[in-house]
């Protein structure tokens, strides 16, 4: 009995602590476990899993199961500065996987496995490109599900803007990789302006180099169901990301945004700010934010926030901000979430100044979104977004178009 452990409970608690904190090389996010390229490694979701419980699987057209993804009913148009290389390349291109992304769910893994081409955009080293590179994907048939892969490489010390513009009618899944070299600055915009019958599941991952800065903007207006996952990690200290988002759900639409910032390098910064409005019966938005601050990520600063404005009865907004913190040696970390209806006091104030009620409502919604829109920093995009907000308001809330 000499080698019996005299403190069995002490050992158990030490094991528990070791399991709870980062002691090895690998620490897993509780909400974003280790991914896999192999679709078979991801079980077919039942709807009860934490990452699937908000998504109406019945409306996914079998994408999460084994629907074929060979459809080619779409067109792609590219508008790019001559300095930028943009085009389709083979799956053996080294750009594929260069962000270090590993598919986190079954749909993403299936899209990865099914694509034999990828669309590559390269902004050369030290190039400063004023003209936004625009890739427009227009779906032609929602009956034919298709898959895609986009890799955007911003080489070191380049500065540019890339816009991914989705429209039309489609059942579409894709992976988008964004790679920022050291010191690169990139504004990336993903606009989901689909027709009402589109289903779109996208997984975007950014890898941010030393002292590089990414402004990642998601704009989701259209589609029957959009599930938008975006994640980022850092390959060196000093990297920054601003993740901005704007969505407007009408009756019957399901718009889901899932954000994950993996702070795996010290002195990095992230700011996640999403705003959405909902109107009409069955309009449903989901926002899941997660920040993982690894033990090495000392001196980082992060904040995530989500605001939802519910304009009519019958709409539902789910909003879940998360923080997973492995070190306290940081500059700051916080999160916030609000979901509410029109502020009666704001409306009362505007009406007391002689503004008609319709106009007052419009002003409140504009003020709500303008805050995000002006941070995008691309004038033509800002104008288009304000016009889209205007169109949404006139169709469902019944507000007349501003004159």
């Amino acid at each position: 009995m000499a080698d019996a452990n005299p403190h069995p409970t002490g050992t158990a608690s030490r094991d528990n602590v070791a399991a709870a904190v980062e002691t090895g090389d690998v620490v897993l996010s509780h909400l974003h476990p280790q991914g896999s390229f192999e679709p078979a490694d991801h079980a077919v979701p039942t709807g009860l899993e934490e990452i699937w419980r908000f998504t109406p699987l019945k409306r996914l057209r079998g994408l999460h199961d084994d629907a074929t993804l060979t459809g080619d009913a779409y067109t792609v148009q590219v508008d790019a500065d001559p300095a930028v290389t943009a085009g389709s390349v083979g799956a053996d291109d080294p750009a594929r996987g260069s962000s270090g992304y590993v598919p986190a769910d079954r749909i993403s893994a299936r899209a990865w496995a099914e694509t034999d081409r990828l669309f590559s955009v390269v902004i050369p080293r030290e190039a400063v490109v004023d003209k936004p590179t625009t890739i427009s994907l227009k779906g032609l048939d929602a009956e034919k599900a298709g898959a895609g892969h986009v890799v955007i490489t911003a080489e070191p010390f380049s500065r540019s803007t890339v816009v991914l513009d989705y429209s039309g009618s489609a059942t579409w899944v894709d992976n988008v990789e964004i790679v920022l070299g050291d010191g690169a600055q990139l504004t990336f915009l993903s606009v989901q302006d689909w027709d009402d019958d589109a289903v779109h599941v996208t997984s975007q991952h950014a890898s941010i180099g030393r002292d590089a800065a990414l402004r990642h903007v998601a704009v989701t207006f259209g589609g029957d169901l959009v599930r938008f996952s975006a994640s980022c990690d850092y390959t060196g200290p000093g990297g920054e990301i601003d993740m901005l988002g704007l969505y407007f759900a009408d009756a019957g639409q399901h718009l889901e945004h899932r954000l994950f910032v993996d702070h795996d390098a010290p002195h990095t910064r992230s700011n996640v700010d999403y705003k959405g409005a909902l109107q009409g019966q069955g309009a449903h938005t989901v926002w899941i934010g997660n920040i993982l601050i690894r033990k090495v990520a000392e001196g980082i600063e992060t904040y995530e926030s989500n605001r939802n404005l519910v304009l009519t009865d019958g709409a539902r907004a789910d909003s879940v901000p998360n923080l997973e913190i492995e070190t306290g040696e940081i500059h700051g970390a916080g999160h916030a979430s609000t979901t509410g209806r029109f502020d009666d006091e704001q409306l009362f104030y505007l009406r007391s100044r002689g503004i008609a009620e319709d106009e007052a409502r419009r002003l409140v919604v504009h003020g709500f979104f303008a805050d995000i829109i002006r941070k995008i920093g691309i004038p033509e995009v800002q104008e288009r977004l304000l016009a889209s907000v205007e169109a949404e308001l006139s169709t469902t809330v019944g507000l007349p178009v501003a004159t």
Binding site: G47, L48, R53, P56
Partner: protein
């Protein structure tokens, strides 16, 4: 759309909900003696199929979080669900069970 045949009376089992698709709507049918009740086959809380739950004294229970709904009115009887689930008129003609999904109550 008028009432549509969902199934034969003989297919239904006393007190055991069964799932059917009627005119594009997922419906859970429950037989209680001579009566048949039709309720939308989805809980108003977390999108779980009610047909997988238990029925007791004219109430159907969602198995995941335990909300119960009245089979007569669709009313949510306890938390976490707060919104009612649509229930549909059922008529039995001979051996046919007809459900009118166009007129929920």
């Amino acid at each position: 759309m008028a009432a549509v045949r969902a199934c034969a009376m003989a297919e239904l089992v006393e007190g055991k909900p069964l799932a059917f698709e009627v005119g594009g709507t997922q419906v859970a049918l429950v037989r209680q003696g001579a009566e048949v009740f039709a309720i939308r086959d989805e809980c108003s809380h977390a999108a779980i199929a009610l047909s997988e739950g238990d029925v007791e004294s004219c109430e159907i229970e969602c198995w995941l979080h335990g909300s119960t709904f009245s089979l007569r009115t669709g009313e949510a009887l306890n938390l976490p669900a707060t919104e009612p689930v649509p229930v549909y008129p059922v008529t039995v003609e001979g051996d046919d069970v007809l459900v009118d999904v166009a007129h929920p109550s």
